[in-house]
């Protein structure tokens, strides 16, 4: 009975760890799909325009975005070598990384919120290895709730 109890504890600990790793894998799969989708979109746009976009109209990954209201006054101090910046805001701001921007652009096919059209699901499945497709199918229905996927 004591050994049973120990194994029960070990089982619970392992289930928690698997749940966390599955959530991390889910996030990585989203990133993979978003990156590949972005590359495909940019490649098609450049082929149609027959030229790359003007350098001052794009921002390469990785980046972060600070967004704040239009009314906010932003005071900025920069060191001479541009190694250090100090921003003062008189109102609230938010900070987002490039993955959040790609998700908002729809590059993750809506998988991040479990809202994926059949066409989007088809695109998403084409951007991951076959072994990971079961995850994509589950994610399309909503956040993965079961601890681990069999199959």
């Amino acid at each position: 009975a004591q050994e049973c109890q120990n194994l029960e504890v070990e089982r619970q600990r392992r289930l928690e760890r698997i749940k966390q790793k599955q959530s991390q894998l889910q996030e990585l799969i989203l990133q993979q799909i978003a990156f590949k989708n972005l590359v495909q979109r940019n490649r098609q746009t450049e082929q149609q325009a027959n030229r790359p976009p003007p350098p001052n109209s794009i921002i390469h990954l990785p980046f972060i975005i600070v967004n704040t209201s239009k009314k906010t006054v932003i005071d900025c101090s920069i060191s001479n070598d541009k190694f250090e910046y100090l921003f003062n805001f008189d109102s609230m701001f938010e900070i987002h990384d490039d993955i959040e921007v790609l998700k908002r652009m729809g590059m993750a096919c809506g998988l991040e919120v479990g809202k994926c059209s059949p066409e989007d699901l088809k695109v998403a499945r084409s951007l991951v290895p076959k072994a990971l497709e079961p995850y994509v199918i589950e994610m399309a229905k909503g956040p993965i709730s079961n601890v681990y996927i069999t199959g």
Binding site: Q24, E46, F89, Y148
Partner: protein, 107 residues
């Protein structure tokens, strides 16, 4: 008898969980490797347009920050002071190279 049955069940399930965890670790490694391949092999195509970003945060002022990996970003916790306007701050400090900031969405 019930305890020994349960013991056997648990041992089998723990073995199964161990396999699942190893599989997850392997899959995470694959996906991380694939992401690295994509961003490195197609680095000239991993960009977004200013318009993309403005559409994601319409009606806002945006600061797009590009900085070397590991650049430290500190956000002090604001403190309410009577009769004094609120103040929020971001402090960026890099050790590996200059930081580039672009102001977007400013009409």
């Amino acid at each position: 008898h019930r305890a020994s049955n349960r013991l056997m069940e648990l041992k089998n399930e723990l073995e199964d969980l161990e396999q699942k965890e190893c599989m997850l670790d392997q899959q995470k490694f694959w996906v991380e490797q694939s992401i690295r391949n994509t961003t490195e092999d197609c680095s000239d195509l991993t960009y977004v347009n200013h318009e993309d970003i403005c559409n994601c945060f319409s009606g806002h002022n945006l600061l797009a920050v590009r900085a070397p990996s590991g650049t430290q970003l500190d956000v002090p916790i604001p403190k309410a002071v009577q009769n004094s306007p609120a103040k929020y701050q971001i402090h960026l400090k890099s050790v590996n190279g200059p930081i580039d900031v672009v102001l977007l969405n400013k009409l």
